[in-house]
Amino acid sequence: MIQFLRIFKKDVRHHWPEILISLALLALYTHYELRPWQNPFEYGSISISPFLFALSGRYIPFFLVLSWIFLILRVVQSETLVGDRQWWITKPYVWWELLLSKLLFIFVIIWVPLFHVQLLLLHHAGFPVLGNLGRLFLMQFTLPLALFVFSFALASLTKNLAQALLGVGIVVVVIIAALWLDSGSGHMTGDSSPFMDELEPLLVFASIALVPVWQFARRRTWASRITIAAALVAATVLSLIPFGSHVEQTYPLLAAKDSPAQFRIPAVPESQEHSSGLPDLSSDTRLSLPVNVSGVATGSVVLIHGMKITVDFVNDSHWTRGWVSEYQQLWPGIQRHNLSYEIKRKEYERVKTKALNLHIQLALSEFEEVGSRTVVLPATTFRDGDLGICRLITTGHQVLECQRPFQYPGYIGRFDAPSFPCGSVRRSSNSSPVNLDVAYAWAPVTDETFPDPGLNPIVEYGVIFNPLQRIPDLESPSPVEYSMATLCPGAEIHLAHPALKRRFRIQLELPAVRLQDLVERATL
C-alpha cells in the first residue's frame, strides 16, 4: 500500500471518536440550516434565554468549527513535528507522503462531507445546484480554506493541545493589539494603497500555508514559528501605515458647486463650555459639525467615506489629523447630518476659545441606479433576480428578509409611503421636525466574482428600509404630525442595482469658528 494511504488508514482508525463527533455536529448543523428562514429579523424582540438560544442551533456552527480544529490538531499532532523524541521520525516516513496523508484526511473526513451538505443546502433553498457548482468550489477558498490552513499551521507548529491553545491565545492577543492600534490611528477605511491591500493578506496567507510544508520537510519548529510571527508583525505594521496621498488620488477634488450633493453649514451657535460633572479621561475631543445636504439627484445616492479637517492657527501654522473614516448616506431631499472628527485634547484645550478657520475635506462617492424595477410586495415569498428569494417581515414593518447563494447583493431600494394607504403610519409628535414617509435601503456592491466567506452557501440578509429624516422646510417651525413609511403586502417598492458613477472630494470652509462651539457633548 502507498505510504500516505497507510498513514491515512491508521489515522482514521485512531481518531474515529473525534470523526464521529465532527460528523454528528455536521448532521446537526445540516438539520438546523435546512429549516427555512431560521434567523428572522426580530427587531425589538425580547432577548432569548441562553438555553433557548442553544436550542435554536446558533451555537452549532461554532462547535462544528471547533470540532474540525480539534480534529485537525489531533490528526497532525499524532505524528507531531515538534520535538526530537517522536517515534515516527526515526522510521522511513517520507515527509511529503506524511503531509499528503494529513491533507487527505482533512479532505475526506471534513471537506467532502461539508461540500455535500453545501450542495444539499443549495438545493433545498431552491437554487440550481449545477449552475452554482463553480461558485461553490470557489467558496471553498474562503472560510473553509482559511480555517483548515490556520488549523493545519497551528497543528504543525505545536506539540499538543495545550501548546495549540497557547498559540491561539497569542494569535488572539496579536489580533486584538492590531485592531486596537488600528482603531487608535483612526485611519480612514481604504486609505491604504491597493498594493498594500493585496500584500497584507497575501503575506499572512502565504506564511501560514507554506511554512507548514517547510516544517513537514525539515522540522525546523522555531524557525517556522519565527517566520510566521514575522509575517504577522509585518502585515500588522503595513496595515497601520497611512496612505493619505492615496485618498487624494482616488478621490479627485471637485469644485463644491459641481458636487452632486450640496453642503451648507448652518450658523454655529455660541456655547459656553460646561462640565458634565464626570471627569473626561479620553485623550481626544470629538467635534461635531452639523451640515445640511441637498441636491442629490433622484435615482442616486452619495456616500461620505472619509473626512479631513485642517485647522489654521493664528501663527500661520496648520494642524490636521489626516483622513479619518466617516460614513454617511446622502439621499435625495434636504437632510441634516452631523459629521464627527476627533482632535487631540491637548491641541483642543490650547485653542478652543480662539476663532479659527477650518478647512473641511470630504471623500465621497456617487452611485446611480441601474436596472431599476418595481416590485409589488406579495404576502408570501417572491423571487428577484438580484435579491434572491425574499419575504416581507410582518413584525418589523420595514424589512424584507432574503436568501441568496454565496453573497450579499448590492442594491438601492426606495419606498414612497404616501402612494399606498397601507404604507404610511401617521404619528403625532411635538418635537420631531422630520418627515419619515420615504424610506431607502442600501447595500454596497461587493466583489461578485468571489463568494462571501462562510459555511452555508445560502446567505440570509435583511433589506432594511430606513425612513429618511427629511427636513420639510428649514425655516418653518416643526410640524406636529409626521408619517413613517411601513412596508405592507401590495405596496410597490423600487429596486435597482447600484453602479459607481464617480469618486470625488470636496472642500468646505468654516471661517472664524471656536472649537468649543463644535464640541459634541454627552447628554446626561
Binding site: R6, H14, S78, W87, W95
Partner: protein, 299 residues
C-alpha cells in the same frame, strides 16, 4: 575498513552549554561499538545529531556514507534506532504496530518478526500503553531488528531493565551483530563490557578515547610497587600516563594508561630505584573508566 559512522569535530551547543565538544570518531562497519560516559556526558545529544534529530552547531558526521543532515525518511530503512526516551504510539496494539510498520520496510522479515515475537514473548493483542517498560523496549528492539538494518543505534536501551530482560535483549542483539553495525550508548559499563568490540568514552562532551576493546584492555594496567622502605612523598614529575598515583607506606599504586611492559618497568626503576616488587594487573572496563573520570574531575 569502511566506516559506518564517521564524525569530524562534531559540536553541539545549547546556548552557552557545549553538550558535544569537537567529537571525532570512527565506527567501523561490523563493529559493536559501546559509546560510554556518565549521565550528561553528551551521548544522547551525539546520537541525536547522528540521526539528524537535532542539528549540529559545528563539524560534520557521515552515517552509512550519508551526511547526517540528510538522514531522514528512506535512510531509516537501513537504520534501526531505539531509545529509552522515544514516544511510542501507545494507543496501538503490539500486533497492529508491527503490522503497520511492515509495509514501510522493503526488507521486513516476517519470519524474523514471528521469531522475535516468540523470543520476547510479546503479547500481540495488548495495547502498548499497558506494557511494562521492559516489554516496550523489547517491542522497540523487535521493530528495529526485523528489517535487517545495516546499522543499529541503541541509546541507553537497558536502563532500568531487570537482568533477565537485559540478557534477552543482548542475546538477540548479538544474534544479529554479524549482519549489522551496532552503536550502543550506555552509562552502565558492566552490561556492555562483555560483548563490545569497540569503545568510545565521552566525558563532558569530549571524546577521551575511541578504540578497539582489546587494545584498550592491553593499554591500561594497574601497577603496584613495593619499595624497601616507606616513601615520605612520591617522586616528581611522574609520567602523564600514570593516573591516580597513590602511596601508602612502602606501597605505591597507579594506573598506567599507556602500558608497554618494558617501558613501564624502565620508568619505575628510574623513579623508584629501591622498588623490590612490581605487579601489573589487568583492569576491568569499569575500573578504566572510573580512573579516566576521576582524572578528568581532578583536571
Amino acid at each position: 575498513m569502511p566506516q559506518a559512522i564517521h564524525t569530524e569535530q562534531l559540536t553541539k551547543r545549547f546556548g552557552r552549554i557545549t553538550a558535544v565538544d569537537c567529537v571525532s570518531l570512527d565506527v567501523p562497519e561490523g563493529a559493536l561499538y559501546a559509546f560510554v560516559g556518565q549521565n550528561g556526558a553528551g551521548k544522547t545529544t551525539t546520537i541525536k545529531v547522528l540521526m539528524n534529530l537535532i542539528a549540529a552547531t559545528q563539524g560534520s558526521a557521515m552515517v552509512l556514507g550519508t551526511d547526517s543532515r540528510n538522514i531522514r525518511g528512506k535512510s531509516y530503512t537501513q537504520i534501526g534506532y531505539v531509545s529509552e526516551n522515544q514516544e511510542i504510539p501507545e494507543w496501538m496494539r503490539v500486533g497492529s504496530l508491527l503490522e503497520y510498520l511492515r509495509d514501510f520496510y522493503p526488507t521486513w522479515d516476517s519470519a524474523l518478526e514471528q521469531s522475535l515475537v516468540k523470543q520476547f514473548d510479546l503479547p500481540l493483542g495488548r495495547k502498548i500503553k499497558a506494557l511494562s517498560r521492559g516489554m516496550k523496549m523489547k517491542l522497540a528492539l523487535a521493530s528495529a531488528l526485523t528489517f535487517h538494518p545495516r546499522l543499529i543505534v541503541l541509546d541507553e536501551p537497558f536502563g532500568g531493565l531487570d537482568p533477565l530482560v537485559r540478557d534477552q535483549l543482548i542475546e538477540s542483539l548479538l544474534e544479529r551483530a554479524a549482519e549489522s553495525t551496532v552503536f550502543i550508548s550506555s552509562h552502565d559499563l558492566a552490561e556492555i563490557e562483555s560483548f563490545s568490540s569497540h569503545v568510545g568514552y565521552l566525558e563532558s562532551g569530549k571524546l577521551l578515547f575511541s578504540e578497539e576493546m582489546s587494545s584498550l584492555a592491553t593499554r591500561f594496567r594497574e601497577v603496584e610497587i613495593i619499595t624497601d622502605h616507606a616513601l615520605p612523598h612520591l617522586p616528581s614529575p611522574l609520567p602523564s600516563s600514570w593516573l591516580r598515583p597513590k602511596s601508602s607506606g612502602a606501597l605505591v599504586r597507579f594506573i598506567d594508561s599507556r602500558f608497554e611492559e618494558q617501558d613501564t618497568r624502565t620508568n619505575i626503576e628510574r623513579l623508584f630505584p629501591n622498588a623490590k616488587d612490581i605487579q601489573f594487573r589487568a583492569l576491568s572496563l569499569r575500573a578504566i573508566f572510573l580512573a579516566m573520570a576521576r582524572k578528568s574531575e581532578e583536571a
